[in-house]
Symmetry: C2
Subunit: 124 residues, 2 copies
DNA sequence: ACACGATTACACAATATAGTGTAATCGTGT
DNA sequence: ACACGATTACACTATATTGTGTAATCGTGT
């Protein structure tokens, strides 16, 4: 399994240094919030949405939405484009969708125990 | 039962409800911490380790390590086995490794911008 | 220039989180 | 039974995070 590249070898890598771990934690931290998750999912589904649409979709105030959007923007997960008064956001990071999928899997396996379909990882 | 499509269709799924999003956020929350990340990585590398080994590896106190281990245990990510006075922990969730890999990818792309290798996701 | 709507910036209050210190629990060996 | 080491439980403190409220900024249309 470690001949081809599909597994970059998490197991072979040297132990995470506290700094690396901090960086990795920062990535997960940005996903560790239901608002940002719903924002991300709404954007994945719609492709592109503006702040007010997002606010309406999530039934939240534009300020709160914008705040979280900035967070996602800082990490390079989103990109935005201005159209008149509106700012349209979209997901540009290619890893985030997979992350969401896998997270979903983990959630189901954590919740119902065994909801993880085998193709996601090599359950040894 | 779910021998269906290779892509669960993040895009086709109905919008995340606040409850679902909360559950998913809980999953990411558990990974949103450098200590737990280092714990996980150490366990993936070694296969199985006991609390004191882990504490020594991370240069942390056993109590702190144990606390985080419980968290990982609650989510069903780890399993433990007693061997005399020692408790050995190991990763049993099949999704978590993939999650770590993808998170690493996202970290690199967020950090250096463009470090995400294309094989991870279908950058469309 | 001006008003208006959309978005963002920022300080603030409420809540959650992590590691520490102390004490309890569990298994082993004598 | 007893002492010891390993692990865990729990209260506590410092810190971080979220949504709110207010105000500033930006683009459009008149």
């Amino acid at each position: 399994m470690s001949k081809t590249k599909p597994t970059p070898g998490l197991r072979e890598r040297p132990l995470l240094s506290p700094i690396q771990a901090g960086g990795l934690a920062a990535v997960f931290k940005v996903l560790a919030n239901d608002t940002r998750l719903r924002l991300l999912h709404a954007l994945v589904r719609a492709g592109e949405l503006c702040v007010s649409d997002l606010a309406a979709t999530l039934a939240m105030k534009p300020q709160a939405v914008s705040n979280q959007l900035q967070r996602l923007l800082d990490l390079g997960i989103l990109a935005c484009r201005r159209d008149g008064n509106n700012m349209h956001y979209q997901v540009v990071d290619c890893c985030v969708k997979g992350l969401l999928e896998q997270g979903w899997c983990l959630m189901e396996s954590a919740d119902g125990r065994g909801g993880c379909s085998p193709r996601f990882g090599d359950c040894e």
